[in-house]
Homo-oligomer: 111 residues x 2
Amino acid sequence: MAQTTELDRQSLEKIASFFKVFAEPTRLAILQMLRQGPASVNDIVASLSTSQANISKQLKTLYEADLLTREQRGTQVFYSISEPLVFDLCELVCSKLNRRARAESAVIYEI
Amino acid sequence: MAQTTELDRQSLEKIASFFKVFAEPTRLAILQMLRQGPASVNDIVASLSTSQANISKQLKTLYEADLLTREQRGTQVFYSISEPLVFDLCELVCSKLNRRARAESAVIYEI
DNA sequence: CCTTAATATCACCGTATAGCGATACGGTCA
DNA sequence: TGACCGTATCGCTATACGGTGATATTAAGG
């Protein structure tokens, strides 16, 4: 036996759910935008090419995954990243894909 | 402007696809098992409660994401983890969920 | 109040995919 | 070659979910 513990199905499902949050380009685009600071829903809608309904839906997903904080100011709602893991995860994966891409072409990913 | 570069939609889709591979409990279970060393398809089928067809399908997904290597020995095929990033990713997420879980109950995740 | 703006929710559609049983494929050995 | 074992693929079903337009909700201003 190693130093590892077998994860049961339920734990694996939790981990999978966590990864699933990052497995959608629209949500990644939102996270990327929020990296530069808090933004209102309208700000996000203005900079992404999808409907307001969809932005709200994806924000809810991110919020319920405890990745975002929510602050209401008047009629506007500002979201911001609350979980530093977001940056770690993106760096890890992006630098990986970056290396992989450089091995094939000249495309460079950065975040 | 910060030190960041905006990722276009295509890059975000690549990153999302990468995360999607990790977003399924069965695939995570396979990765967890392969952490202890190479295993044949039958080995994996024996230790997971899903069909051989499904195992083969998920192995293909993992293989095409360049996470696994494939070695045929007779009629058997042995798979093993080829991408160290797998460990980094799991550690990052598991330790995170571990911390989060400890904040709520006494459940401990380890991998 | 009434209007308007900002956000959230609803009902729905279309697509992607996990999972299964059945079957095909490819080695090995008699 | 024929039988058998291990693996991959096929056709299919059921379900999850991203995306949309329409509508509800909530807050500020007149």
